[in-house]
Structures are given as structure tokens and as C-alpha cells.
């Protein structure tokens, strides 16, 4: 995992196209969330969405190509967390992914990641090419962090 840059808000990391690489990013993000006293259920949701975005980028975007990397930018702010995951693949149309909760697709072995990202984050927005996803999760009140 290579640190690419850090600015006032975003930490930026670059990882190889291996599924196990996601753990390094997760650990770094979770550590930062814990440091800022985000509650456990919030950590769970952000970790899940990050895992789904990273596995999509590594497996479907970069197609596990060892010559390609995935870039992750995240910002942990007092009221929200922002995640941006970018791969070097051709991109895809998220609207073309079928709803996995319908009877026709319930037995599909894959295709549930975007549904989970949308369910657990407040915003999930793809760029027009479909190789970058930006996600935001807000916290409703600062007091709720103290409860966690």
C-alpha cells in the first residue's frame, strides 16, 4: 500500500489489485474512525461499503490485473465520512446491474455489492465512466458518537 498524498481533508492510498489489499485500507480507516469516537454500527457500515467498493474495483474494474492499482481517498470529518474509490478499468453502468433482491436474481452468486453500498451509505455516486465511486455517510448528531 503506497501513500499517494495527503491534503487537508483527504488521505490518499494506492493498493494493488488483490482482494487482500483491501484489509490495509480498512484498518487505516477504522483506526481513524475509532480515534474520532464514531460508534460501532457506523464503523460496521463504512467498513462494509468500503469492502464492497474495493472488491468491485479490484475484481470487476481492474480484473485482478497486477499491473493496475486502485486509488482510495477518504476523509473523516466531524459530521461525515467521505470515500472515493477509483480503479483503472473500463468502467461500467451501475444502472445496468439487476436488483439482486428480485425473485429472478435471488439465486445469483454475485451482484449484491452495490445494493449494500446504497443501503449503508447516505450517498453513492458513480462518475460517468463508471470507474470511480464516491460515497458519503453522515452522522446525525455529534452526541450519538459519545454513545458509541
Amino acid at each position: 500500500m503506497l501513500p499517494v498524498s495527503t491534503n487537508q481533508h483527504f488521505q490518499c492510498l494506492s493498493i494493488s489489485s488483490e482482494l487482500s489489499s483491501a484489509r490495509q485500507v480498512e484498518q487505516r480507516l477504522i483506526t481513524e474512525l475509532r480515534r474520532q469516537n464514531y460508534p460501532d454500527d457506523y464503523l460496521f457500515a463504512v467498513r462494509l461499503a468500503l469492502e464492497e467498493a474495493l472488491s468491485n474495483a479490484i475484481k470487476h474494474g481492474n480484473r485482478l490485473d497486477p499491473d493496475k492499482t486502485v486509488t482510495v481517498r477518504f476523509a473523516v470529518e466531524p459530521e461525515k465520512v467521505q470515500l472515493i474509490v477509483t480503479d483503472q478499468g473500463q468502467g461500467f453502468d451501475p444502472a445496468a446491474v439487476p436488483d439482486p433482491t428480485t425473485d429472478d436474481h435471488l439465486e445469483d452468486p454475485s451482484g449484491r455489492g452495490i445494493t449494500l453500498m446504497r443501503a449503508y451509505m447516505d450517498e453513492v455516486i458513480y462518475n460517468s465512466r463508471g470507474n470511480e465511486v464516491r460515497m458519503v455517510k453522515r452522522i446525525t448528531s455529534p452526541q450519538s458518537r459519545q454513545a458509541g
Binding site: L19, R23, T101, E107, P109, S110, G111, R112, T115
Partner: protein
Amino acid sequence: MELSVDKRPHLVVITIVGSVDSADSNPLLDFFNELIDAGHTRLVVDLTRMDFIVSMGLGVFVRTYTRLREAGGFLRLAGPQPLILQIIKTTGLDRLLAIYDSLDQALE
């Protein structure tokens, strides 16, 4: 992810402890497939100590369920924690997979 197996007279109990992330999913699928290949088609998975799972892990349960159904067996998921059950319900898989509140209930 830690896995353990308890082979009983009429079924096999598999216990999953910890997180099932994307990198764990293929080894987990291999683990289930090896059991099925060895003739074990009645599987109960104890989820009471599993604290995280991603969509690829859920896909492993779906693949295993499908294979066991075709083999005339079953897959039962026992005792998922509330956050895990929420993920399962979000994906609609509570309508497909047999989920029990506890391991005891799954063994009845």
C-alpha cells in the same frame, strides 16, 4: 475468519468465527465444496460468533445452498448477530436461505 467442523451422525456443523471479507470468500467456498465433495450434504453453519460478512461471502452461502439443494441436502444458517441478519435481509436472502435464531433450533 476461523473455521471449525463438527461432524455429527446425520449432519455437519461448521462454525465461522470473526470476519468474512472478500479475500476470505474463495477459501470459504473451497471449504464448503470439499465437504460436499466428501458426501456431506446436510450442513448447519453456526454464525453466532461471525461479526462481519461482505457480499462475496453471502454469494458463497448462495452457491452452497444451490449445490446442496440439487444434492437433496440442506444448508441452515444459525444464530446470526443482528448486524449480520440486517445484511442478509437487505439483500433479500432471508427469503432464500434457511435462517434459525440459534444453533439449537437449527439442529432440531
